[in-house]
């Protein structure tokens, strides 16, 4: 499938004029989503989508245009429009497309025909089983907000006048369960996930039990008095935090004066326990890919090593401007977006102990099971960090009473320096960062 896309991309590139750099990025995705509710299929969506994004660089000016169809008229119109848009950009000596850098793409096996051929009925059965298992996990589970199976068969190709020609096909699927637990008038919510490259890797029982346990253990939650304490972030919460940290470590943020780590290269920016790597060649990552969205090979980048800042992420443009080389970190939000630089598969190097063992060593703390408002309460430029939180109080090494409607606050800078321990429980989630339990000291919990 990806070879056909590469042909489309090459065709557009073949229309480039003299002195004109042209890059075409073509995607096709086939997605299925099944939602179960009360033992029935609530909705079943089957969708094929495709699109092209065309970048033109002419006289050091960049233009971009996109279309959601791949017929010849649309391809021609998109190239024309991109060319026209280039006229209005400011000339930039660093503008230009990616050139092949000799790095071979990692031999990853990310396409599984088993998923491509998996019958719809079997997908429906997985969603129904997830819903049934979530309800059956605990008598206090009285409802399901959503129980869903989703998969995607994704192919993309990039070709350019600079000599790039790369294509990839990937499959992925996941189950997610959001459950409601009630006790009298009170309702609490919980979630559970599992991800795989093919359906046989999915474990509906585990997602169901996680979802039910998270919801039921919050029953009886109350607001707590304001305190300064140690928090243990559940793996999903850590993954959300890492995504924000990753956004501050891009060449883009650094060059444009928006990174709080801009002048900190080779300095300690985190506790020694923190080693943060962005590695899209990790096959277990849900977002793994052998090529980035400019067609260069992805590679492992150690951003923070033993607490010391060691690297920033670069795509071709930011690398040129910084006098560095691309780290294969070009990302796009889809065919309608220009490539930019971003993390693709972030993970902390896991530690040695389970979450339970970490909790056992904490006298006074909070296990943070869920956070809300990461997008509104965290400013990746200033580092101010404040989010809504719910979870369980930790007292004398044991999980104690449930807590809700509090916030936890610090700054990104301090959170990283205050890390006490990284757990051993690394798990990949349906997002671009891995989850792992993370203990952080001296965080303000605001409540009553």
């Amino acid at each position: 499938m990806s070879e056909a896309l590469l042909d489309v991309a090459r065709r557009v590139v073949g229309w480039a004029g003299a002195n004109e750099e042209v890059e075409a990025f073509v995607v096709r995705a086939r997605e299925t989503e099944v939602r179960a509710y009360e033992g029935e299929v609530e909705s079943l969506t089957v969708a094929e989508s495709q699109g092209i994004g065309v970048r033109v660089v002419l006289d050091r000016r960049q233009g971009f245009a996109y279309a959601g169809t791949l017929d010849t008229d649309a391809l021609e119109a998109t190239l024309r429009e991109s060319r026209d848009n280039a006229r209005f950009a400011t000339a930039d000596e660093y503008a230009g497309l990616a050139s092949p850098d000799g790095v071979e793409p990692a031999p990853l096996d990310l396409y599984r025909p088993e998923l491509d051929e998996f019958p719809t009925d079997a997908k429906v059965a997985l969603a129904l089983e997830l819903e049934r298992a979530t309800r059956a996990a605990d008598p206090r589970i009285t409802g399901i907000e959503s129980a869903e199976y989703a998969d995607v068969v994704y192919s993309s190709a990039v070709a350019s006048t600079a000599g790039v020609a790369a294509a990839t096909s990937e499959t992925g699927c996941y189950l997610s369960s959001f459950s409601l637990a009630t006790d009298g008038d009170e309702t609490q919510t919980g979630y559970g996930y599992c991800v795989g490259r093919e359906p046989s890797q999915l474990d509906p029982a585990r997602a169901a039990v996680d979802s039910a346990e998270r919801a039921t253990r919050l029953l009886g939650a109350t607001k707590a008095p304001t305190a300064r304490l140690t928090v243990v972030l559940d793996p999903v919460v850590t993954a959300q935090l890492l995504a924000i940290v990753g956004s501050t470590l891009t060449g883009e943020a650094v060059l444009k004066g928006r990174s709080l780590f801009a002048d900190r290269m080779d300095e300690p920016v985190a506790a020694p326990a923190v080693t943060l790597i962005d590695d899209a060649t990790e096959p277990a990552a849900f977002t793994a890919s052998a090529i980035d969205d400019e067609g260069l090979a992805t590679r492992a980048v150690s951003l923070i090593s033993g607490g010391v800042l060691r690297a920033f992420l670069y795509d071709t443009y930011t690398a040129r401007r910084a006098g560095a080389v691309s780290t294969g970190s070009a990302v796009r939000a889809g065919h309608a977006s220009t490539p930019t630089v971003g993390a693709q598969a972030l993970a902390l190097r896991p530690g040695l102990r389970s979450q339970a063992d970490i909790v056992a060593g904490i006298d006074d703390g909070l296990l943070v099971q869920g956070v809300t408002g990461m997008h509104s309460g965290v400013n990746p430029v200033s580092g101010d960090f404040s989010t809504g939180a719910e979870g369980l109080r930790i007292r004398a090494g044991e999980l104690a009473e449930p807590i809700r409607e509090v916030t936890i606050a610090s700054t990104l800078q301090r959170l990283l320096l205050d890390v006490i321990e990284v757990g051993a429980d690394l798990e990949w989630l349906p997002m671009s960062a891995a989850g792992v339990s993370l203990a952080i000291g001296d965080v303000t919990m605001s409540g009553i």
Partner: protein, 479 residues
């Protein structure tokens, strides 16, 4: 430039021929479903971004396609395609029908008629954005950049974005409905970074309306840029936000996000039906102080959440959700309304033809009250004044919600004093509604927003006068 009065039949014809719509619906119904619906969308967007002193890129594009929905019993089948040919639509219709399969009923003929009741949202557009030269759009960006930087050398970075879109839609269904709309939106935003001894701070300002380029007759981009710069500079002097529970006064236009999160989402009928809302089963009950009358109104011409028809073809409505503190109604889409034997409230929306519609807000607001805004602050001994709110999030099942404060100050002895750093406020919807004790006379709409639900983003507006909540938890780091 005066846009000609649009011809509904013509708009429909341009998107897809009526007989193709009817054929696709007939195919979709063949497995015996009760409802088949086709949603056709042709959306053109253009944007221009200035960052770091340079016009970084102009982007333009088009996405066009159809989503076909088939409802059989409690099951919805959905398929979408970018292929608007006879065979493309038939294939999508067959896929949607198979997804919602039931007993076979054989093809059922469908005839649809243009709905004369529905209007066209963009009739008010005076200057279609596509008629404006790209160079004129670029000039707005450079003017904003210069204005922001003129506020002082501490302004170290400026990003400005111009965007416009024209979204033409057609909705037809097996009840015979055929409705169209033509929705134009224009948006401008400026973000500044200020650098000082205490690190980096940011300030933002945005304006967006369902109008064309005449947006800039009302909004001066240089003034917006200066306000954004001023916000960032002010925050350089900000001290850490307090932590704990205290009175919070929200400035005019700002409080809409509070209601959007505190109760708006919880009044969406799909969440109510799954008992995933703390407001389920509470119609007719007093849920807020008597000051609170909450309205969701998609008919407010020009506002960011405005449209003529929703994405199920239903005319937008003005729906009173809470009247003088009493919960009067939820917001409805077609499926949830149908289960209750009532009609949709015009709140069925979707991000694009690739998405299923669901219950969404439009422009959600609380009208002006009777209190003098200055007195509201003067009567507050110690608390926080929030001049500009960021986004928010809610867990509708528990009612717990947060929203960010991007420009806030301490209130000390009834006076607004020092700026405080960013942070979240947290509260519980049903509790907060009973703690609103003052509403100002100074109603204003807030900034244009994008509301996310189940991974779909749609444009929404909100508004409130100055208001006070007697107790909210401020999530700062200071004691």
């Amino acid at each position: 430039m005066q846009a000609p009065e649009p011809d509904r039949e013509l708009v429909a014809r341009e998107l897809v021929a009526r007989e193709l719509v009817e054929e696709a619906l007939a195919v979709a119904l063949r497995s015996g479903a009760e409802l088949a619906e086709i949603f056709v969308e042709d959306k053109r967007s253009s944007s221009a971004v200035l960052d770091d002193g340079r016009i970084e890129e102009l982007v333009s594009g088009r996405s066009r396609g159809a989503g076909i929905r088939v409802v059989a019993g409690d099951t919805t089948g959905f398929a979408h395609t970018a292929d608007l040919s006879r065979s493309g639509l038939a294939a999508a219709a067959a896929a949607a029908a198979a997804a919602a399969r039931r007993s076979s009923g054989g093809p059922r003929p469908v005839a649809v008629q243009p709905d004369v009741r529905t209007g066209i949202g963009s009739v008010a557009v005076r200057v279609p954005p596509e008629s404006v030269p790209k160079s004129t759009k670029v000039e707005l960006l450079t003017a904003a950049d210069a204005a922001a930087r003129s506020e002082g050398s501490a302004i170290t970075q400026v990003a400005a974005r111009y965007g416009d879109s024209r979204r033409r839609i057609l909705v037809a269904n097996s009840d015979g409905l055929l409705a169209t709309d033509d929705q134009v939106r224009t948006l401008f935003s400026v973000s500044c970074v200020a650098t000082g001894d205490t690190g980096l701070q940011t300030g933002r300002e945005s304006a967006g309306r369902t109008v064309g380029f005449e947006l800039f007759d009302t909004y001066d981009v240089t003034g917006m840029a200066r306000r954004a710069a001023h916000r960032a500079l002010t925050k350089l002097k900000a001290r850490p936000a307090p932590s704990g529970t205290m009175p919070v006064v929200v400035g005019p236009g700002g409080g809409g996000v509070l209601f959007h999160e505190a109760c708006g989402h919880g009044l969406e009928a799909d969440l109510v039906a799954k008992s995933a809302s703390v407001f389920a089963g509470r119609i007719g009950e007093k849920v807020a102080t008597g000051l609170v009358t909450l309205i969701d109104d998609g008919t407010m011409a020009g506002e960011w959440g405005h449209y003529a028809i929703d994405d199920e073809g239903r005319p937008a409505g003005r729906n009173v959700l809470i009247a003088d503190g009493v919960l009067t109604d939820y917001m409805w889409d077609r499926i949830r309304a149908g289960k209750q034997g009532r009609s949709s409230s015009g709140n069925g929306r979707r991000q694009s033809y690739q998405h299923l519609p669901m219950v969404r807000m439009t422009n959600t607001y609380i009208g002006a009250g009777a209190d003098d805004p200055d007195s509201i602050v003067a009567d507050t001994d110690r608390g926080v004044y929030v001049a500009q709110l960021g986004g928010g999030q809610v867990n509708t099942a528990t009612g717990d919600f947060v929203f960010g404060m991007t420009e806030a100050y301490l209130i000390e002895n009834g006076v607004i004093t020092e700026p405080i750093r960013e942070g979240n406020l947290i509260g519980n919807g049903p509790e907060v509604l009973t703690r609103i004790d003052a509403l100002g006379t100074d109603f204003a709409m807030g900034s244009p927003g994008t509301c996310g639900k189940d991974g779909q983003g749609v444009p929404v507006g909100d508004g409130t006068p100055t208001l006070r909540v007697t107790a909210l938890t401020v999530g700062g780091t200071a004691a």
